[in-house]
């Protein structure tokens, strides 16, 4: 009997102990559940961002009411960038490599409607061997609504196809089209202020404003690169002279057509040469149909009263290019994009010269292939032929490169 009562007492005691432990465990599980919920909620808020809406019922004085909804994330810092490097072999020359560009972006949302954006450029790898480091843009965006926003600072000049969207995954050739390297001197960035927005149910995008003028007195007189060396960019104590720039694009789902215009003083330096003006205009079109993509651009540049700068200065130039690209991934049943492309360019960087002479146009052909291991990276193979009748020279170059975005 005594034994039984001892056993019963032990059982009751053990049960009480287990009940206590169980209750404690339940409490701990509840705590952990709450902690886990809080962490997941926090993670979801960070990953999806919070957002702020512009109240589109209120009109902005002189700016018009917002036509449609615009949401902005309240996430503050954003980091991104792109890079590209290549190896090239021209005619019988020795092959060479170039760590062409590494460009980090930093953006910071100072408020829901004020954003700072910067792009730093590291070009050609080594500053002691011809490389350079520069600020490629640094601006503040004041986001009012879709119809009207203001961008102030050192910014990309809104001309051409490539200057605004110059990441290596967005064009087929290893080097950007020469038309957009020399006549629209990509990457062309100047200090200024732009008004921009989308109207007509987002079909029309416009930009207009004032930027720092080119200094054509510093342009390449031999006309090999002409405008490229006339950019002020982000130079220290760069002279400032206002030039006007405007752009309009009309866009449907598969088609975009547009044009842009630049007009300013021809000379922009502390020792100004007065009485010259510089104008550039371009027309461009892009078309996409399923896996086919077409691009075309025509541009002209004119330096009026070029003789005031130099008797041998170029006064007029002209260029055009057309490109075709086709993604053959579906044809060979692979998931990665595999694009074959062709590009034809015809450019004359000295169509007219101040002394009355002129040069002949240069023809350039590219064919190649782009393979995208991911949507954010590309491997390129590009065969280029440049036919320059001025020097009776035919250059053939083969390029291989990779590019990426992050």
């Amino acid at each position: 009997m005594k034994r039984i009562s001892i056993l019963v007492s032990i059982a009751i005691l053990t049960q009480n102990l287990y009940a206590d432990e169980l209750s404690e465990l339940k409490e701990q599980v509840q705590k952990l559940q709450l902690q886990s919920d809080a962490l997941v909620e926090e993670m979801l808020d960070i990953s999806t961002g919070n957002f702020t809406k512009i109240d589109d019922t209120k009109a902005h004085n002189g700016m018009g009411a917002a036509a449609s909804k615009v949401y902005y994330s309240s996430s503050e810092l954003s980091i991104g960038g792109y890079g590209e490097m290549f190896i090239a072999k021209k005619n019988g020359d020795k092959a060479y490599t170039d760590i062409y560009r590494f460009i980090p972006y930093f953006g910071y949302r100072l408020s829901p409607w004020v954003i700072m954006n910067t792009e730093l450029e590291f070009e050609h790898g080594d500053t002691s061997k011809g490389g350079k480091v520069l600020v490629e843009f640094m601006y503040l965006d004041f986001l009012f609504n879709k119809k009207a926003n203001i961008r102030v600072g050192n910014l990309l000049v809104p001309m051409g196809i490539t200057n605004l969207r110059h990441e290596p995954t967005l064009f087929g050739t290893v080097l950007r089209p020469y038309t957009e390297r020399y006549l629209i001197p990509s990457t062309w960035h100047e200090s200024g202020a732009l008004l921009y927005g989308k109207i007509a149910n987002d079909r029309v995008e416009y930009t207009a404003g004032i930027i720092n003028a080119l200094n054509m007195a510093n342009a390449d007189i031999d006309s090999n690169t002409w405008i490229k060396s006339a950019r002020i960019g982000s130079a220290k104590n760069g002279a400032f002279s206002p030039a006007f720039v405007a752009r309009v694009d009309y866009e449907t789902n598969s088609f975009l057509v547009g044009g842009s215009l630049y007009y300013g003083d021809g000379s922009n330096s502390k020792d100004d040469i007065t009485g010259t003006t510089m104008s550039i205009f371009e027309l461009h079109a892009l078309y996409n149909y399923t896996n086919l993509s077409l691009k075309a651009l025509y541009t002209e540049a004119n330096l009026h009263k070029a003789s005031k700068i130099d008797q041998n200065a170029t006064s007029g130039a002209q260029a055009l290019y057309v490109s075709i690209a086709y993604n053959i991934a579906d044809l060979i049943a692979i998931d990665n994009k595999l694009i074959i492309f062709g590009l034809y360019e015809n450019y004359n960087l000295a169509r007219y010269k101040a002394d009355g002479s002129s040069r002949q146009a240069i023809s350039k052909y590219n064919i190649g292939v782009n393979f995208f291991p991911t949507d954010q990276s590309v491997l390129k193979l590009d065969y280029e032929t440049v036919d320059d009748p001025n020097n009776d020279q035919l250059d053939n170059t083969i390029y291989a490169s990779y590019g990426f975005l992050f």
């Binding site: 109240d55 902005y72 996430s75 960038g81 009012f144 969207r165 399923t290 949507d375």
Partner: protein, 174 residues
């Protein structure tokens, strides 16, 4: 010049007053303007096997195991699930809300946050192409969904997000 500065300052002041925070629930309600809806916030946590299935179903190299969604009903009738997907566009992220209807097809799409410059936001006409697309559609930019000429990477990112939302609905919500 003085007049321009005064006008600009006034515009900025009015603009600041017009900013307000908006919740996902409000955005959902705005898309059902004529119907009063009830929105119930929830989340999905995938285990490793489910993440692997999601990768297969969406054909995306997904990393995240957690997703936010909202159940949308009206008078106890299910209208759909609004799923938030955050993906990289060009070099920066965007968060997009996809409403997946009970028939597994996209009802509406709202871009909630967009860290790229605003010129990269695709227009409404392009976004509307994805409406009424479902799990049986391939949803591939180029062959099935047209590429937007000025914002190709935005088009790719938003289309891929649609695939993820439809797959999440099929695997974890329905």
């Amino acid at each position: 010049m003085k007049t321009i500065i005064i006008m600009l300052t006034t515009a900025l002041a009015l603009h600041c007053n017009s900013l307000k925070h908006v919740s996902a629930e409000e955005i959902i309600q705005q898309n059902f303007s004529s119907t009063q809806v009830t929105v119930e916030k929830s989340k999905i946590i995938l285990n490793s096997d489910e993440l692997s299935q999601m990768r297969t179903l969406s054909q995306q190299p997904l990393k995240s195991k957690i997703y936010r969604y909202y159940k949308v009903t009206s008078k106890k009738r299910l209208l759909g699930y609004a799923i938030l997907i955050a993906q990289k566009v060009r070099t920066k992220k965007a968060t997009v809300m996809y409403l997946v209807k009970p028939d597994s097809k996209i009802g509406f799409i709202e871009i909630l946050s967009f860290l790229e410059p605003p010129e990269y936001i695709p227009n409404k006409e392009w976004i509307d192409q994805l409406k009424d697309r479902g799990a049986t559609d391939r949803l591939k930019v180029g062959s099935d969904i047209s590429t937007i000429t000025g914002a190709t990477l935005s088009a790719i990112s938003i289309t891929k997000g649609a695939r993820v939302a439809i797959a999440l609905y099929g695997l974890k919500i329905r």
